[in-house]
Symmetry: C2
Subunit: 216 residues, 2 copies
DNA sequence: CCCGATTCTTGACGACTGTCAAGGAAATCT
DNA sequence: AGATTTCCTTGACAGTCGTCAAGAATCGGG
């Protein structure tokens, strides 16, 4: 993951740096444990003890690496975001026709629910909680903006490939697609397990047929 | 609100009915107190004691009228729904041209955020919590279906007035519009108060310009 | 190998939660 | 009027929460 700690030498700078990196590695490790717990239980029902139980450590260690529950949570969200907001960039850069981008994007939307469903549930949970908890607003606003930009990279590239301009502004486009995504996620998460693949197929089909009308 | 209790007469049927109606009136009264609390604090941070504090009673009374917290919550949601899922029906029945329905619907979407913002925040909160809490799924699914039907009454009437068929199925249409609505609600709830009217104006404008493309 | 710093565990605290039982207050009935 | 049912308050319970302090375990440099 990160660089392994340097072998012990009498270099106070290097060892101090290794220390810092180890400290950060532990924070990331705890963040990962926290994220799986949060994805399973949701923001409200996730306690620090529960997070610690999904990690190799005991519940007290959280306060050694994070001063607050709040700090842990926001650190988690940013950690999660790091890997998340570039999800479609490979598709954007490697697709060579509008049709290819369209169908691969539609398929990828469904795939990310299948592969990372709980993480998306957590995101929508946190985004909603930010309406009640001011402490979450800053980080939610930041990530929401990045998600909008991510979607806009797809759509503007799509417009380029098709040789037609986008019909809507970035925010409206994001709002609509996000609505469809959230709708499918909800029914994926709450419906019967046997129906999950059908839900994802429907999402793909919808986005696939909808995308042409996002261009003028 | 409900019929006032009948004056005391020696009619066991009437008095029993009055008793029941009084019992139900109290339940509704508690539900209303609970809804304002839930709308302010969100599902996670609302305790029974907090609900009671927003009502004329003490915290123990909740268990006299409801057996569970869960029963109270689901009762609240259904109670709220009663007045809610017909919000656009007056517009649907009284609009005489597609253009009128379009602009009045767009305006009403914004108005309901302005007038009942916290209730909508609560709805999205509960809908999300249903992904983590199976107990909420039944009632959420039921109301979500009614909301979809409500939106579809608007759009199908809109299509009739315009003399063109709807371009999308009810579920997709609902998902898209709901996404835009939720997006505006989020920024209405978390943004600065001075910007609220702007947010609502943007929502109205977006829906207004988007609606024609919902027809084939 | 030993000492000091770092890392982690354990146990405790005050506060809060849903739930419930006991009993007082109020309304109703005879 | 008294008796009885209904309504509501109070106080307590077992449990969980975030937080923190004290000390054990572990690790690295001399």
């Amino acid at each position: 993951m990160a660089v392994p700690p340097a072998p012990s030498v009498a270099d106070p700078v290097a060892t101090a740096a290794a220390r810092v990196s180890k400290h950060d590695t532990r924070r990331d490790q705890l963040a990962e444990s926290a994220l799986t717990t949060l994805g399973q239980l949701g923001y409200a029902k996730t306690s620090l003890r529960e997070i610690a139980q999904h990690s190799p450590y005991s519940h007290g260690v959280v306060h050694y690496y994070f001063s607050n529950k709040e700090e842990l949570i926001t650190y988690c969200v940013r950690y999660y975001k790091r890997t998340c907001v570039t999800r479609y960039d490979e598709i954007v850069s490697s697709s060579e026709t509008a049709e290819e981008l369209q169908s691969r994007f539609a398929a990828k939307l469904a795939e990310t629910i299948r592969e990372e469903g709980p993480m998306h549930q957590l995101w929508y949970d946190l985004r909603n909680q930010s309406m009640f908890e001011p402490a979450l607003r800053e980080v939610v606003l930041e990530i929401d903006g990045q998600l909008e930009a991510m979607i806009w990279r797809v759509i503007s590239r799509y417009a380029d490939l098709a040789g037609r301009p986008a019909a809507l502004d970035p925010s409206t486009t994001y709002g609509m697609l996000d609505g469809l995504f959230a709708q499918s996620l909800l029914s994926w998460a709450t419906g019967p397990r046997e129906a999950r693949e059908d839900v994802l197929a429907v999402l793909s089909a919808r986005v696939d047929t909808l995308m042409p009308s996002l261009l003028a």
